[in-house]
Amino acid sequence: MGKKLLLEHINEPGIQSFEVYRKKGGYASVEKALKTMKPDDVTEEVKRSGLRGRGGAGFPTGMKWSFIDKKSGKPRYLVCNADESEPGTFKDRYLMEHIPHILIEGMITSSYALGANTSYIYIRGEYMYVAQILERAIDEAYANGFLGDHILGTDYSLNLYVHVGAGAYICGEETALLESLEGKRGNPRLKPPFPAVAGLYSCPTVVNNVETIAAVVPIVNLGGDEYAKIGVGRSTGTKLISASGHINKPGVYEIELGLPVEEFIFSEEYCGGVWKERRLKAVVAGGSSVPILPAGLILTTAKGEPRLMTYESLADGGFVTGTMLGSGGFIVMDETTNIVQNLFTFTRFYRHESCGQCSPCREGTAWMEKILHRLLQGKGKKTDIDILVNAAKNIEGNTICPLGDAAAWPVAAAIRHFRKEFEEIAESTTEGKKLEIATH
């Protein structure tokens, strides 16, 4: 059994409540930090832990925190990104729903480190019931002196608010999130300036994923060095993986980074193998935007080494033969999966979620969706495949925010690894073969 740092008490009855959570050692990190550590010491521990952002990009959290401008004299903010909208990703919801206090605890400890006296949890509109669970947990924390003025009798005060978005994937992009939090249309901002300098209300701000903030709790409790012992190389600690698709046991698993991908898919402890005795065809390892890999390449790298669940191993081979750990949305596809159909579903999502601010993403995502739709209807042409590749190339890297890349990568990867399927569909122009797909 791998170590569990976040989900250790998941099966404890009543762990949603303050009382049980506290009994199980909850809020110890707040006591330790506020009473025995200086804010910068907390940041130092996070640096030593090697923790990397769990929202998708994997940026070192301690380094991000140390960028925050502490000299500006302006208020500083910590904003938790609970927008979780990447298809295939549902780990933050699971954590907030079942152990809401670990997020509240992490918010307090992290806000203390950053010197923030007001912090926000920005949660997607579809998670309304989770927002209510968080509100209840926050009320309990206030009632027990862990939020509000002079927490635990110290000089430190913090107010924590939950803000519910209106249901837009783009509001998970950190600057769009800040716009939305300010009450504006959720369009991503041009960078620089980065949030660490000018974020919420133009004040220094850190935006972190739910799981990143929750991980600060065991880091402060254990110490950064102890945390860093888990994992492999620069991929330290544990990671929540939301596994879905054609597997026997879909769900959210906490793994130690470094676990072989093969073990994750086939062992009884995790996914329990591909369902219906079928063969593995492909995996999207880190949420819909990371490149899809065929079975051969997800289990072993192009060099022939076993692929591990780490940032580095999954990225081995670059985009030619590798992929990314991303958000931990692990989607498994069996041999019956139609890759073109799957790509259409993803592309339709990006088209729908593009904010429309910049031309390559606004127009390109819609174009790619239309071409894929036409292919699936049996009305495609062979030239369509090259147009798709070219359109994806013209989007990638040329947009304001990474949503453009996120839309382009899956297209490029699916065609790179499964070009034959696209060609077959393009050639079979038989009207009778039409697939029924709703567009909107």
Binding site: A168, I170, R185, L190, R351, H352, E353, S354, C355, G356, Q357, C358, S359, P360, C361, R362, E363, G364, T365, A366, W367, K370, K381, K382, T383, I387, N390, A391, K393, N394, I395, G397, N398, T399, I400
Partner: protein, 334 residues
């Protein structure tokens, strides 16, 4: 001051200058096109992506190249920066891609569009686009709406530069229009089709790079190249009163602000000057305004057509439409 090299030409500019403005100081062919940036409107730019350039050396201190192409309109120069615009095949390729994206849903209804002849999208396409269109899908359309009695919004032609939104934010007391919806469904709208009615709303027309916002007092009166632009001014209590009169004989068909070399109005004018004074007696007329762009207004003629070349080009496009291999082209823009 910062020394920067653009396409091999060195120039020294004040710190904080954007790459685009540094390039404009050099002038000529190396200036990136711009469809959404507008000098006299704060925070514009970054959206259309036609001004993308390559920064092959970040600065003297940190000579690393920037990992992606950057929007030159919003990226400040640094001392020792080396920029490639027309000397970078990547930039030209990306720009061609952006032009294609901008045209995917544009109606290309130039023959009936008031903006034709002074349209930035026409110029852009002519200079940076490809000869063929690769899309065969139905184009997106919207209903036309009147916003107030003076302005027509034809959203179908819009390229979402957001300039008119910034005009309303920065020049008028209260913005009553904006962007609705998302992605390729997003549209400029007044939401409840509320009239945009205030002293400076007419500037939305001038900043629109395409024919999405047009002057209802001028619509369909004349092609712009049949009108003669004249600098004129009047004493106005609301604005600078410096305008361009677009005349046919002694009639004033339309009044606009004065656009500079890059098609941007530096001094905005009020609606009274724009819409209410169509009489030559109201104005002190200076002289003819020189439109020093390549557009048809100043040229007042079309390029002579080589019929044989055209025939070949049409054949080639027909073959392409049938999805066959694209034969080598014999035509090229030069």
């Amino acid at each position: 001051m910062a020394k920067v090299t653009i396409d091999g030409i060195e120039i020294e500019v004040p710190d904080g200058t954007t790459i685009l403005n540094a390039a404009r100081q050099i002038g000529g062919k190396i200036v990136p096109p711009a469809m959404c940036y507008y000098t006299s409107l704060k925070d514009t730019g970054g959206k259309c992506r036609v001004c993308l350039v390559k920064v092959s050396q970040g600065s003297a201190k940190d000579p690393r190249p920037m990992p992606k192409l950057v929007a030159s309109c919003r990226t400040p120069v640094a001392d020792g920066m080396v920029v490639q615009n027309i000397t970078s095949p990547d930039v030209l390729e990306a720009r061609k891609g952006v032009v294609e994206f901008l045209l995917l849903n544009h109606p290309i209804d130039c023959p009936i569009c008031d903006q034709a002849g002074e349209c930035d999208l026409q110029d852009l396409t002519y200079e940076h686009g490809t000869e063929v269109t690769r899309t065969e899908f139905e184009r997106r359309t919207f209903d036309k709406i009147d916003i107030g009695d003076k302005i027509k919004l034809h959203m179908t032609r819009c390229i979402m530069c957001y300039r008119c939104v910034y005009v309303a934010d920065q020049l008028t007391p209260e913005r009553v229009h904006g962007v609705l919806n998302r992605g390729d469904h997003s549209e400029i709208s007044t939401y409840i089709e509320k009239a945009v009615d205030n002293d400076f709303s007419g500037n939305m027309i001038d900043v629109c790079p395409v024919g999405a916002l047009t002057d209802r007092t001028f619509r369909f009166k004349s092609r712009v190249w049949f009108t003669k632009p004249m600098d004129a001014h009047r004493n106005c209590s609301k604005c600078c009163g410096k305008v361009v009169l677009w005349m046919k004989g002694d009639d004033i068909l339309r009044v606009t602000g004065r656009k500079d070399h890059y098609g941007e109005v530096r001094e905005f004018i009020c609606n009274e000057c724009r819409f209410e004074h169509k009489n030559t007696a109201d104005w002190v007329i200076g002289g003819p305004r020189h439109i020093n762009r390549h557009s048809v207004i100043s040229q007042n003629h079309y390029e002579k057509v080589d019929l044989q070349k055209l025939r070949k080009e049409i054949d080639r496009q027909i073959v392409f439409q049938k999805g066959k291999q694209l034969p080598e082209t014999s035509t090229s823009h030069s």
